[in-house]
Subunit: 369 residues, 2 copies
């Protein structure tokens, strides 16, 4: 397969089973990308990321630009060498972080100026800058910068903002220098179908290697998230991967695949793990609960992760209560493996045309929780 090629292996309804090729190899879709914001998935060694079965991971342009800086990483051989992760890497542009973490943001025609959350230094993120940073990092898939709006933005605000984001998307493509760093565009449009449609129509005219649905999972209710995903995903090009940014819980992955989404990322498996919420195919358990303190069973008897092969619920419970790092690591290893097992299962179900049945089972089991 050529770099940037997306091969669809099977479809079932809107659900798609595919494979996407990057410079650092291909990954199977639907895919879940563990989040390695600062060049590391929290608590997980590179070798364990491989064991978990992750095929592509996500990192963050905003964070890596501020520390250690893209030129440092380039001089060290690029982001794959830096992290010692040999598979594909996608970087989020950092637009979301500019709006959520930094201070004194100011949007101008040129881009967005802000102050670093680390040292207060003034930084400009322009579409050209953000492309340059990601090409310098040497990532496989780069997200263009977009303006992120709160979920309660008015239609007028959303409409106006999209003109900026669209202009930035065009400039991002014009600024590209590397053919092997694949650009993904981001659909915005808030919670308005009319604006989502406008954004999609504008964006799919631009030759992106993939298309993301942005601006969801930002505080809106589940029903709205599903409605906008259902409305948007099928309108995106069939021959390109579709990425739903920042989503979500296991049930969200299943539901969104059913709506035609191919790629996901979310901090939930690692963040929940640190607080003791552990996923299984029967729902989640809170390992901090009293009943697990003496439980000699593994977290999930069906799981093949390092934690489940080697440790009891009681041990993980003890370590989480004792605030020991290894507790967070064991819990994260399990949750990340659960997500990989889930997308692997989804892939095999779509191949066998049994996904809609599987999705129905998941709804029954996980909505009761």
């Amino acid at each position: 397969m050529a770099i940037g090629e997306f091969k669809i292996i099977n479809t079932e309804g809107e659900a798609r089973r595919g494979e996407f090729q990057t410079r650092m190899g291909s990954f199977q879709t639907p895919a879940f990308m563990p989040v390695g914001t600062q060049g590391t998935v929290k608590g997980i060694l590179a070798r364990d990321l491989e064991e978990i079965g992750a095929e592509i991971i996500l990192s963050n342009t905003y964070h890596l630009h501020l520390r250690p800086g893209e030129n440092v990483i380039k001089d060290l051989g690029g982001i794959h060498e830096f992290m010692n992760w040999k598979g594909p890497i996608l970087t989020d542009s950092g637009g979301y972080q500019v709006f959520s973490l930094s201070k004194l943001r100011k949007i101008t025609e040129e881009g967005v100026t802000f102050r670093s959350h680390l040292d207060g230094a003034k930084v400009l993120f322009s579409p050209e800058n953000v492309v340059r940073i990601q090409e310098t990092l040497g990532v496989d898939i780069m997200m263009v910068i977009d303006e992120c709006l709160p979920p309660n933005a008015t239609q007028e605000e959303v409409k106006k903002s999209w003109q900026i984001t669209l202009n930035w998307a065009e400039r991002s493509l014009a600024a590209k220098n590397r053919a092997d760093v694949l650009p993904f565009g981001i659909v915005q449009g808030g919670m308005f179908e009319e604006e989502r449609e406008r954004a999609i129509n504008d964006l799919i005219k631009l030759p992106f290697a993939g298309y993301a649905i942005g601006g969801l999972s930002v505080g809106e209710d589940k029903e709205t998230m599903r409605k906008i995903t259902a409305f948007s995903a099928p309108k995106l090009p069939k021959n390109k991967p579709r990425y739903l940014m920042g989503v979500g819980l296991p049930i969200d992955i299943v539901e969104s695949v059913a709506l035609g989404v191919d790629m996901f990322d979310c901090v939930i498996p690692t963040r929940s793990a640190r607080f003791g919420r552990l996923f299984t195919m029967d729902g989640y358990i809170n390992i901090r609960n009293k009943e697990y303190r003496t439980d000699s069973n593994p977290i999930d008897a069906d799981c093949d992760c390092y934690s489940c092969r080697n440790h009891s619920r009681a041990y993980v419970s003890h370590l989480i209560h004792a605030k020991e790092m290894v507790g967070a690591t064991l819990a994260s290893l399990h949750n990340l493996r659960f997500y990989q097992r889930l997308v692997k299962m989804i892939r095999s179900k779509i191949e066998a045309n049994e996904f809609s049945l599987f999705a129905e089972e998941c709804r029954k089991k996980w909505n009761e929780n």
Copy 2:
């Protein structure tokens, strides 16, 4: 070898190269025990402890009694099963923790009553209790409870305290129920040679499987620590292992081996790691320093640890600066491996009668730092 047997393989001056047998296998001496206070070595998976080359680890009676409780651990199959560590485990009695962490301590004839640092619950640690807890945990080597004094205790205080500690030592032996849980006695005596001599003479009359030098590394100066170690170690039985508690820096290990010590434990390799101090045979480096932020070399080109095989100084520096868990883990893996490589080197040097030469080289390299 029988359980509790100590075989001396070679000696060079006071330095000894030996092997000690426990129920869960033997370990080679001089030995360094990584510290797993709460049933986990901070940041290190059980699998990685093996890879580091640790042959025996230390845990803590005080902490495990308060959480999760020795009966919970027993019901889960004992401490080895609980931690999934199949080698020998030594538990400190918790005397030190009673005096450093808990509130409202009160020493009576029966033992020491204190309030838990976790929930304020009233707890009694008597010699009998502490033996029972460690036998219930199922450890391989148990330390008797002792009274820990501050380094500025007067000779009168030290003398009086020793009568309590000696009485507790006798009662500990009388309370034993398991032949396969080996008891170690602890020499106290403050910074006074006269009191140390008294304590040693009293203690070696009791049939312990090994003898520890306690009450050092508690805030006294280096010279005093060396002087008391030099005075005490050679007076302990030649046919039993000698354990210097809570020591120390790499140079302290080398110097103390030269004085006749066989076993060590210390939080320095893991605690220092979390702050970025990394050990090499040429001294230590502080990975937070600016020069390492762009350094593509491994922490130590001579090291075979996971970190040095897979990552650059620049990456570890980045993660420590970014306060990422993996930074602490990579640094701890390296430092713990360094300590294991050091004791392995010491063992081979004693075998070859080249230890005094090696110690001289270490002094030159490490005292300059």
